[in-house]
């Protein structure tokens, strides 16, 4: 197989994977008797055609940045964290407990405290699978899947039996106090000129951007990041270089869990204002697609998160305005994961053929 130039590997492989996923989705839409062109138009209009649409796209993207970063950090240590969903749900529990604990005076204080709660609970939920992987060799993929289900059961129990206020019917916590309400993009001076209507995207977006920069800094500019990446490339080599695999595995997974947990300040604190059942709505799983598509780099994750935010908001618009079910976005999500994560060798093989013929043509 021809080795591809670096730019082709970074840019072309994800783009062609996306194109393939798009083509198959279009065929699916055709097969159920709808027009793919109309569908795309509805999605673009609804998701990026207005500031209001962008308000939703960016809201989803904020969550996906966090979960995408979570998967990215674990991937660099060659750990596949499928548990982002459970860690995000636990993060939501952390946010709820912090927000309900005190009558918070101002959102800035509440944001810092709730972030700590979210990160702590998310990291704690990743800690047991991490320990079992590092110490006992239990496969992290299986344990994190199991922990997703255990998290769902735990959250249902907490909401129904512990946190639900007396007299309330639906399983949810009480509303958070007014002092925890995060300003949306509509309420931020300056940005309110663009976002003239109330939108769900909120200040968490900036926390997400900061987190992206921080993850880049940790992975490529610190000793810890070097050790994580070294362990991910080769465990024997890392061991030989004096890196302790147990320690690095634990730290990478705790970081990953904390990042997944942090997404809850976006949806639980920023949007719903109380903890509901299944608060993360699959965002933990989308992190896998985002990380793969973003080539495990924070900048790529940011771009892929915007793309998936578009897909999510656009998919919701499809469900509203056309007879194409909203589940189309799950199909696209699955296809993107399939092409970027499992069939990437196939994409590379085809690209390799192209580059080889070009080279011989030039020579």
């Amino acid at each position: 197989m021809t080795k591809l130039p670096r730019w082709a590997d970074v840019v072309l492989v994800p783009l062609i994977s996306l194109l393939l996923a798009g083509i198959i989705s279009a065929l699916v839409i055709l097969a159920i008797g709808q027009s793919p062109w109309e569908a795309l138009k509805t999605m673009v209009d609804g998701a990026v055609g207005s500031a209001y649409g962008w308000g939703y796209t960016l809201y989803y993207a904020t969550s996906f940045i966090f979960t995408g970063l979570a998967v990215t950090v674990a991937f660099h240590a060659s750990l596949f964290n499928i548990g982002g969903e459970g860690q995000a749900q636990l993060g939501g529990l952390g946010v709820a407990l912090v927000c309900l604990a005190l009558p918070w005076p101002h959102w800035t204080v509440a944001l810092v405290a709730a972030s700590a709660g979210a990160a702590l609970f998310g990291a704690a939920w990743a800690a047991i699978p991490a320990y079992l992987q590092a110490k006992r060799g239990s496969h992290i993929v299986i344990t994190t899947i199991m922990f997703n289900y255990i998290a769902a059961a735990l959250i249902i129990y907490m909401l129904v039996s512990v946190l639900k206020p007396a007299g309330q019917m639906d399983p949810a916590t009480a509303r958070f106090p007014e002092g925890t309400r995060l300003p949306t993009l509509h309420e931020i001076p300056g940005l309110s000129l663009v976002f003239t209507k109330q939108v769900p995207a909120n200040v968490t977006l900036f926390v997400a951007l900061f987190a992206s920069w921080l993850v880049w800094l940790i992975l490529w500019r610190t000793r810890l990041g070097y050790e994580i990446r070294a362990l991910g490339k080769s465990e024997p080599a890392a061991l030989y270089a004096g890196i302790r695999p147990v320690r690095i595995t634990m730290i990478a997974m705790l970081l990953s869990g904390a990042l997944a947990g942090l997404m809850s300040i976006n949806n639980v604190m920023g949007e719903s204002g109380r903890l509901l059942q299944n608060s993360s709505e699959g965002a933990g799983f989308i992190g896998i697609a985002v990380a793969l598509m973003g080539r495990n780099h924070p900048l790529g994750v940011f771009l892929a998160a915007i793309l998936f935010g578009f897909l999510y908001q656009g998919g919701a618009e499809l469900g509203l305005w056309t007879s194409i079910p909203i589940e189309l976005r799950t199909v696209v999500q699955g296809l993107v994961i399939l092409f970027t994560g499992a069939l990437d060798h196939m994409v590379r093989m085809f690209l390799g053929l192209f580059f080889r013929t070009r080279k011989t043509g030039a020579a």
């Binding site: 699916v28 097969a31 159920i32 008797g33 596949f80 499928i82 047991i128 079992l132 006992r136 060799g137 239990s138 496969h139 993929v141 299986i142 344990t143 899947i145 199991m146 922990f147 289900y149 255990i150 059961a153 735990l154 249902i156 129990y157 129904v160 039996s161 799983f285 896998i288 793969l292 194409i324 079910p325 589940e327 189309l328 976005r329 799950t330 199909v331 696209v332 999500q333 699955g334 296809l335 994961i337 399939l338 994560g341 499992a342 069939l343 990437d344 060798h345 196939m346 093989m349």
Partner: protein
Amino acid sequence: MDYATLLQILDSTMRLAAPLLLACLAGLYSERAGIFDIGLEGKMLMAAMCAGAVAALSGNVWIGLLAGIAGSMIFALIHGVASITFRGNQLISGVALNFVASGITVLVAQSLFRQGGRTPPLSGAERFNPIELPFAESVAKVPVVGPFYAEVLSGHGALVYVALLAVPLTWWVLYRTRFGLRLRAVGENPASVDTAGISVIRLRYTAVMITGVLCGIAGAYMATGLQAGFGKEMTAGRGYIALAALIFAKWRPWYALMSTMLFGFFQALALRPDVLKNTIGFDVPVPALDALPYILTVIALAGFVGRAIPPRAGGEPYVKER
């Protein structure tokens, strides 16, 4: 808990464990051949939709079963192409196919029937109806054993018995045939199988397709036996419970029977919290029962009840020596 209630719960254990057992044995073939399969869930879901839809359209449950198997096998083939031919990441491929199945089943069911992503309710010949085992009526009067035979073993749909028969069959194939020996070898050390002149690729594809067939039966049973029609996300994580049961069973067929029966029993208990409360004297939250299979699997994986060691070459794509 009196004997009659116990029989009732064991009866629903059988019904609930059957799809777990089929999916668990499905995973066993694939993983024993060295191909991890997280996509059991997606294949079951796809099969459930195909079986529900075709049974409703044709009015014949057997044609529905075939359609379910076909739907599941298509997904198995994609998994095979991604993980065997293109040597992709097997875990990611499985996860991806689960998402695709979750979405596409609703899309197809909605465009066919326009009933909110469900297939129409099935009845009569469109479903697998209970089969009375011979002499159930007359044996029922024999104390203790009689009611057990008549209530628990007898009176299930055909596919429940298929699931039960699949256990000895799998054992026989795996440990008493040449194919089984090679299958186990290719999951432990593919290079040695290759050296012996046997195609690793072909063996693995065969295993993955068997997985497709068994998941197909499991999914078809969900839509045409356990329930009357396909509904969105109706497998509800059963593919993952089956995966858990497979690890709990340490990749062996008879243990798979026991672990799926155990997990089926938990599911049956979760449907009857009143019985549990009366038996042990205090209230067990239903979510705790729902989570029990997963917790047990984590404990099993941690090696506290004997080590669960997966097939050695599992998850590794085979690259022929050049």
